[in-house]
């Protein structure tokens, strides 16, 4: 977003004094604009999750809304007294989010699916990456170029054949349908291979001299040294599959039991009372929160992993 060639002279000055610098200011303006563009939808989501329907429609009430009591029409339909059906908007939004759809169940499904996917991906990717980076065998370069080639295949292109295969096997509407297609991550193999290339050969030879088997080397030597890279991969993988709407929408057709959180959002879309944005945004907030918290916790190591600082 910023012009990095401008930054070099500015940076040297910044350390010593705080003079006004046009390039520095420009950079920050650009960055702030970018941040606003990225954050605005989140702001709207959070804000709507607090407001009453009328405030959302008329776009009033600021960030938090006035939090005046409003009448819950659904509650009245059920035959309750009007006085009993007056609710605070944010409480209404969040309770509806959890009561109208089994959001906890969806969250649990999300955890099961993303964790299984990541676990199996690592189980597959580490030995593959090790073989591609550190073992010498005929055809290694060819296989690696195949891996690179597979990186270029968009998932949507193979979704239909995949679906047909799963359907023929009778696996649609199961956890397996959600997990199996993602267990081999070429991106993971590629990322870990690049990291393993930086691990010195001597370390592996030392392990061999100590009597470790090749699988022993993978799990006891390569895995611990690759934690930063694995963390980076974890974030990519978990974010992608936690937020995935496309694939679960295809293979989970009947049972609500197997819905993942993004599918849960659909529950609020276009039902008889019209769109119910407040609870919908509350659901969205609940769904993204785990990811944001996880990122905050792993932020430092994540950045380490992205820059792939090897080992010393």
């Amino acid at each position: 977003m910023t012009d990095t060639t401008l930054s070099a002279p500015a940076r040297t000055e910044r350390v010593t004094n705080f003079r006004f610098s046009a390039t520095e200011t420009l950079k920050h303006v650009c960055l702030i604009l970018g941040a606003v563009i990225v954050l605005l939808p989140f702001y709207v989501m959070l804000s709507y999750s607090f407001k009453s329907p009328s405030e959302i429609m008329t776009n009033t009430g600021g960030f938090f809304g006035a939090q005046e009591l409003f009448r819950d029409d659904y509650c009245i339909k059920l035959g309750n007294e009007v006085a009993d059906c007056m609710v605070k908007p944010w409480i209404y939004n969040y309770t509806t989010a959890f009561s109208k759809a089994p959001l906890l169940r969806y969250l649990m499904n999300g955890v099961i699916v993303t964790a299984s996917i990541f676990f199996i991906q690592v189980l597959v990717a580490l030995p593959c990456a090790y073989a591609l980076a550190k073992l010498r065998w005929r055809g290694r370069e060819t296989v690696f170029s195949l891996v690179l080639f597979c990186l270029l295949i968009p998932v949507h292109a193979i979704a239909l054949p995949l679906y047909i295969m799963l359907a023929k096997l009778g696996l649609t509407n199961t956890y397996a349908a959600l997990i199996v297609p993602w267990t081999i991550s070429v991106f993971g193999i590629f990322l870990m291979r690049q990291f393993f290339m930086t691990v010195p050969d001597d370390l592996i030879d030392a392990a061999r001299m100590d009597g470790m088997s090749e699988f022993g080397i993978i799990w006891q030597v390569m895995l611990p040294t690759a934690i930063p890279a694995l963390l980076a991969f974890a974030i990519f993988s978990v974010v992608a599959h936690w937020n995935d709407y496309f694939w679960p929408r295809i293979v989970i057709t009947g049972t609500r039991e197997l819905f993942t959180p993004p599918l849960g959002l659909r529950e609020f879309k276009g039902d008889a009372d019209g769109d119910n944005f407040g609870p919908m945004m509350a659901t969205a907030t609940v769904i993204v929160t785990p990811l944001i918290v996880a990122f905050m916790l792993a932020q430092r190591r994540f950045i380490e992993g992205i820059t792939l600082t090897g080992m010393k």
Partner: protein, 386 residues
Amino acid sequence: MASIALKHISKSFGDTQVLKNVDLDIHAGEFLTLVGPSGCGKSTLLRILAGLEAPNDGRIEIGGAHMNAVRASERNLAMVFQSYALYPHLTVAENMMTPLKLRDLTMLERAPVVGPILARKKYHALMGQVEATAKVLKIEELLGRKPGQLSGGQRQRAALGRAMVRKPVAFLMDEPLSNLDAELRVHMRAELVQLHQSLGVTFVYVTHDQAEALTMSDRMAVMRNGHIMQLDTPHLIYTRPDTLEVAKFIGSPQINVFEGEAANGSVRLAGKALSLRVDPALSGPVHIGVRAEHLLIEPAARAAGLSGKVTYQENLGSDVFCHVALMDGKAKMIARMAAGGGKSFEVGDEVNVRFATEHALIFGRDGARLEVESKAKPEPLQRKVA
């Protein structure tokens, strides 16, 4: 302790042949150094011996047993790497314990959490071995640290410790000192030699530093382009090199080479016969090698020897290396003189270069050293070139 024999070892990587029919006999308990310029195949030979690389051809024997098909870990050798290759996520103690665990414990006993509970006694015994080794190397206080928190020298010791705990029949070391600073390197040389003496185990030591090879080894093998050119004691390699190449590689500064002519059993340099005798059948150009410390430089006034001009002087404190360009050609000679030893020259001085013929090494046209008989032997004081 075990003798090691490498027989007709050949190794190629693709089209490049790295080792060409290498034969090497290593005596039990000796300190043998493989020395040679970068890329000559020293590490490859060591890795073949270790079992980390398979030779294309040849036979490896350790203690008389055929080892070609035996896995690296079962050859009971220990290797110390240039980069130390300690496991970065384990403490020094865990690093040292790893080879023991892998050798002495079953899979279940090695398992985390459960293992140490099941096999408490065994773990205790292993820890005892680790501590004993650490004591020998004086790294007891480092046992709890991770490699990242150690200095280069400490890492070096930890790597040695990991090699030692297993009590291997031989240590293989691949340039273990080259990542240390000069002072520590000299210190560690002495320590390694002491360690060798106290353990009495075979050491095979790879280096490209001839000073290490000369000071540490019982015998040294000089390698070049994938073969061993000479295998002998450091003293014999230095004083009696088999070929001009060995003579040039070993010794610093490099040996001085004069171009002479052999005919009728005598060698002539710049038209004058040297007081030594060679095989009368030999005739044609020969190389005369003279070590820097045997080259004498004198003021031009004394008209014996070859004339030249001082081009540069290197003062090393104890010694002065005096570079002389000979007048008759482009040949450059280096003489080593004691500093402040009376004679001193300025750059640009015209000088005479002489040497004592009994120290001269004569090499034939193919580079092989020729046996000579010195005529000057009975009167060593009369050192005359011509």
